[in-house]
Symmetry: C2
Subunit: 203 residues, 2 copies
DNA sequence: CGTGACTTTGACCTTTTGGTCAAATCAAAG
DNA sequence: CTTTGATTTGACCAAAAGGTCAAAGTCACG
């Protein structure tokens, strides 16, 4: 463990390599399923070397997870109360779907964590996440009250967006097994746009 | 390992207890995360006793998983080409949602398996599951061609049902963290019914 | 260069865990 | 009640896995 000065060039490079390798392995195997040796070899370093940069496997997991949580909610934060209701929600759906396509490892890491009861992030969920969702559902309810969106349970609307978009990352193998050669991301954007336009257009 | 006669009373009881305990533990911890000791204590038996009934942890996992696969697809199989299109699909949605409510462990076991790349069931997915989905999407496409359902990508329609309903089981802790005291299953049925009625009503 | 701090690793330790086994206990058919 | 097969378990074993450490190698800078 180096002193707590500014990180050196080597430290930055190796920490980044380790975090990337850890994301790779944790997202594919879960916390218990991942071994430090796997992460080490994915990072191109020796096991004791990893433990020079992070005090434990647990610490690597925490680092990867907190790095993820930092950005995971950005698409929802970007939902703008000033914009057009339907376009704002469609924009959110599109951003989330792009994240599933471009960052499936992050999605799966998150899914692994939640499916297993979110032991390490339960706190964040019921404080930060809840607060953000409360805020945005209030905006949505406002739009509904103004007659600019069809009547819909705003919390379940958010859940539906999470589930529909993350499904393409988390259940990728299943989706691809069923679709055969066709790429899920060819039709998914249009499918989701159509779905939400039909659901949300005011009567 | 008993001879391969008809199972005794004790064998039936203990095998059932082990499978239930294994489902409990595997669904909560994943395969690697589960230990034989945890399963043993959940089943109220000693570890060597478990290994008297199943040759390995792997075998327990296989048994639980194949027992699950047996019934997991029943709700989709029940989708009837003769019935009313929208009511048939709503019925499927309702059955799947009830499974999420009543059998969350099964849903999470399945989710764990798929998220981690479905190493043990990939075969089943691309043969049995694909065949069933191919059959049912053909039915749905038929309904669309007859003008009895709105235009929609039938495969992605199925995916949407899977993701929306299983989300309430697999991401239960997240959903509850956000909702607070409210039970997700109070509003979910109506939300999903409304969603699919709006999406599927022919123009 | 030389020096002190940073980095790397081979060897090793400990705990956890899947699995084995022989001996002990139990069930039930005759 | 005895015999025989089924069931149970305490004691072990070996491999896997997280983690430690001292010694060796590298880097950067005066």
């Amino acid at each position: 463990m180096p002193k707590d000065r500014a990180p050196t060039r080597i430290q930055r490079k190796n920490r980044a390599a380790i975090l990337d390798a850890a994301l790779e392995v944790f997202s594919a195997q879960g916390f218990r399923g991942a071994t430090v040796d796997q992460i080490a070899s994915a990072a191109g370093l020796s096991k004791p070397n990893l433990l020079y940069y992070f005090p434990s496997k647990e610490a690597m997991h925490e680092a990867v997870l907190s790095q993820l949580l930092d950005t995971w909610l950005d698409p929802l934060r970007a939902l703008d109360p000033i914009g057009d209701p339907i376009e704002e929600i469609l924009g959110y759906v599109r951003r989330k779907l792009e994240m599933s396509r471009d960052f499936p490892r992050e999605s799966r890491l998150f899914a692994n964590e939640i499916v297993q009861g979110a032991p390490r992030i339960h706190e964040v969920l019921s404080t930060d996440l809840k607060a953000l969702v409360d805020e945005k559902t209030a905006v949505i309810q406002g739009w509904i009250d103004e007659g600019r969106l069809a009547e819909v349970h705003p919390y379940h609307l958010i859940f539906s967006i999470w589930s529909l978009t993350q499904h393409y990352a988390d259940f990728d193998v299943q989706v691809r097994a069923v679709l055969g050669k066709e790429d899920p991301f060819d039709a998914a954007p249009e499918f989701l746009e159509t779905l939400y336009r039909r659901m949300l257009r005011p009567a």
